[in-house]
């Protein structure tokens, strides 16, 4: 991809080739650590400088005045251009890392479970490929990427899985998507992140990650129930 090439100068980026890193939650945590180191350096430099100036240059006589340097033209340009390039270098570096991680977030593995999500005030309705539906609880097999295709039946909501570090708005008239990688069995919180009225904070859902065989059993059983319900009485 040409974008990748353009950033090559800066992107000694995340080792995203590794298969275990094709997971939004993991690249998020790596990128966050990267960010923390980056800004900690900037913070320490500025804060230490400010503290030192405050201590060193406090007023010693009531009618004392400062003697700040009168910059020459060259020094003035230098003090603008050099910091500007330093900041830009850091910006592009962070942008390149973010771009790499972005591809992990937006390029969904082909081997995936695809579920439809319709948000409404105030619930999450899921529809599985075989027509099985559920509300608020999303059951998925461990070890398989899950793609949600989302829309909304009324106002804007945002499906947020803090443990998987993903969210995307669901809106009426538009279809959006997100994917996450449930690796091992367990339960995870889902909650609404876009203000949607009275019960916004109570739009609580759950992702239940089951061992694959247990999921398969549940999935078959629900499909059978659905078929039974649909079968015309004879």
């Amino acid at each position: 991809m040409s974008g990748r090439w353009a950033w090559a100068l800066f992107a000694c980026a995340l080792p995203l080739g590794a298969a275990e890193l094709r997971d939004p939650a993991r690249v998020w945590d790596l990128l966050w650590r990267e960010y923390l180191v980056d800004v900690s350096v900037i913070f320490v430099v500025f804060a230490a400088l400010g503290a030192w100036f405050m201590l060193r240059y406090r007023r010693r006589a009531p009618d004392e005045e400062g003697s700040g340097p009168q910059l020459t033209r060259l020094a003035a340009v230098g003090w603008a251009v050099i910091p500007a390039f330093a900041f830009m270098a850091d910006d592009f570096y962070l942008a390149a890392k973010t771009w790499d991680a972005w591809r992990v977030y937006r390029e969904v593995p082909a081997d995936r479970l695809e579920v439809k999500l319709e948000a409404a005030m105030w619930r999450w309705d899921f529809t599985y490929p075989n027509g099985v539906t559920s509300t608020n609880e999303l059951r998925v097999p461990a070890g398989k990427p899950v793609l949600l295709r989302m829309t909304s039946l009324d106002v804007v909501h945002s499906y947020y899985l803090p443990d998987f570090r993903v969210k995307e708005d669901s809106m009426p008239g538009r279809v959006t998507y997100l994917w996450f990688y449930p690796r091992s069995p367990g339960e995870h919180l889902a909650t609404c992140a876009e203000f949607c009225g009275m019960m916004h904070s109570k739009m609580i859902g759950k992702v239940i990650v089951l061992p694959p065989e247990q999921f398969a059993a549940w999935y078959e059983q629900e499909a059978a129930k659905l078929a039974a319900a649909k079968k015309p009485e004879s």
Binding site: L31, W32, G66, F92, G173, T191, S201
Partner: protein
């Protein structure tokens, strides 16, 4: 001078108009502050505390956001400070259009009254200060009050923009060149250019909202060919630049305070003005999509505006270097205004650095709409802006009232406020990292953030104590303060050459500005500006 109510109502004097703006914006600040205390009480523990109705909470939150931004910060900075300082700083007798100025301030008051109607109308607006449709159209709340508040204050701002840009262009004292302007004057010019370009866009957005809700149009209704994202784009196309309408003047006044109390020339003045203020102005309209990172807009748009958003660090970094550099080899006096100005450097640094992960689109997919976001923007805009305004009130107190405030009271108020805001907004960002979304009435699904919520509520109480002491220090200074000289701080800037308080018309004789005069020419003999 006998107090005449009528003189204040019909005044066209820029200093009185400024004080009227100050009174109105502090009233908005007080009511919006009470709302935040109600919210902090509600959130101090899980479950319903103060009210069992989430709608009450939503109304408080709506009012807090809308009033703090539209009713307090923008009017306090571009109304009060611009009116009070700009004509004095450029050596003018008044603004270019004094009667238009009076219209601006009364439109602003009408806007405040419209906002306060929230508390008396049935079905108060509950749509957050962003007013996203379709919720703002479906709700039973009175979205119209939001629309008309925005329109009234928006008109007020547009008139102010025309007025102040004209004033600075035409009414500078004879001989005053563009490179001899106070940085605050530059920042006000830039802020009003932004207002003139972008306020109409917000006006359009909220008007379409009202049309959709009350007249049955379908701008934002996908069932009839509309699109919900049009509103979000229009709203943030104004509302992100609006952040700079707040940022630039508060940085500008921070420059004034720092230069005065360090008695030092501003470090690299031209880099701060052309690189810093000019750079922010240039980039301000190209970054709004970072508010829509999770809204499913095309990838190229999200990544493109990620880069432009990160680049904001360049002009902002230049401003920070100039601010810090002004301390270098200065003669720093730690009076109350200076404490606030130095605190702005600190809170703005934290706020700026915590903005970076929100600019990094991928990190934002997790952090967006969590407590991290309000934590960040309170540091970078709400607290920094408010500290700059408080610092400016102390700074101008002798000039406005002709009396000195009490330094110990000022210090005490500052210490409480500074401690309080860090107790509220740093834990808020940590709660965001736990995944706690914003605008939540309750947080039963996040038991792990309960201690942080309790801490934030304690912090809010500490801020209240600080704010009350600060208010008392102003009242005390107003009633009992020692008489103030014309130039208590030893500043070189023009506004300190006139008596405290300045008479109508400001200058007995308009000062003639010498080519080597500069508002920050400390450390060398006074020259140039005739001290009339």
């Amino acid at each position: 001078m006998a107090f005449s109510f009528k003189e204040w109502i019909f005044t066209t004097d820029h200093k009185r108009v400024g004080v009227l703006y100050l009174i109105g914006s502090l009233a908005a600040f007080a009511v919006a502050g009470v709302m935040s205390l109600l919210m902090r009480y509600e959130l101090h523990a899980p479950g319903p505390d103060l009210t069992a109705n989430p709608n009450d909470y939503n109304v408080w939150l709506y009012f807090h956001g809308a009033a703090m931004i539209l009713g307090f910060q923008i009017p306090a900075l571009t109304g009060f400070l611009a009116n009070y300082c700009v004509p004095l700083m450029i050596g003018a007798r008044d603004v270019a259009f004094p009667r238009l100025n009076a219209l601006s301030v009364w439109l602003f008051f009408a806007g405040i009254v419209m906002a306060l109607a929230t508390f008396v109308v049935p079905d108060a607006p509950d749509i957050m200060w962003t007013g996203y449709p379709p919720y703002s159209i479906r709700t039973t709340g009175n979205t119209a009050f939001y629309t008309f508040t925005v329109l009234l204050i928006g008109f007020s701002s547009i008139l102010g923009g025309i007025n102040f840009l004209t004033t600075v262009v035409y009414l500078r004292a004879p001989g005053m060149g563009w490179n001899q302007l106070n940085i605050f004057v530059w920042s006000i010019c830039a802020a009003f250019v932004i207002q003139l370009i972008f306020v109409p866009v917000l006006g359009v957005a909220v008007t379409m909202l009202a049309f959709d809700k009350y007249l049955g149009t379908h701008f934002f209704n996908p069932a009839n060919g509309g699109d919900v994202l049009i509103y979000q784009n229009l709203f943030w196309f104004y509302s992100h630049p609006a952040v700079y309408v707040i940022l630039l003047p508060f940085i500008g006044i921070t420059f004034e305070i720092i230069a005065t109390f360090a008695r030092n020339r501003v470090f690299n003045y031209k880099a701060a003005v052309y690189g810093g203020i000019g750079g922010v102005l240039l980039l301000s309209g190209e970054v709004w999509v970072h508010h829509l990172y999770t809204a499913g807009v095309p990838d190229w748009l999200r990544l493109g505006q990620m880069v432009s958003t990160l680049l904001i660090s360049v002009p902002v970094g230049l401003l920070m270097i100039s601010l810090l550099g002004t301390l270098y080899r200065g003669s720093i006096s730690f009076r109350t205004p200076m404490l606030y100005a130095l605190a702005v450097n600190f809170t703005f640094l934290i706020g700026g650095l915590t903005g970076i992960p929100l600019a990094m689109a991928t990190l934002d997919l997790n952090l967006s709409d969590t407590y991290f976001v309000p934590g960040h923007f309170h540091y970078v805009m709400a607290v920094s802006g408010t500290f700059a305004i408080f610092g400016a009130i102390y700074y101008l107190f002798p000039k406005m009232t002709g009396r000195m405030y009490s330094e110990p009271l000022g210090w005490t108020g500052f210490i409480f406020t500074f401690a309080g805001i860090n107790l509220v907004f740093f834990p808020m960002m940590i709660a965001g990292l736990y995944g706690m979304p914003r605008r939540y009435f309750d947080f039963e699904q996040f038991p792990e953030v309960a201690p942080l919520q309790a801490l934030m509520s304690v912090g809010a109480a500490v801020i209240l104590v600080g704010a009350l002491i600060t208010l008392w220090s102003w009242i005390h200074g107003l009633l009992k303060g020692a008489p103030a000289p014309a130039n208590p701080w030893g500043s070189r800037s023009l506004e300190w050459t006139v008596p405290s308080p300045p008479p109508p018309g400001n200058f007995a004789r308009i000062p003639a500005i010498a080519p080597d005069w500069h508002p920050y020419a400390y450390g060398r003999p006074r020259s140039g500006a005739a001290s009339a």
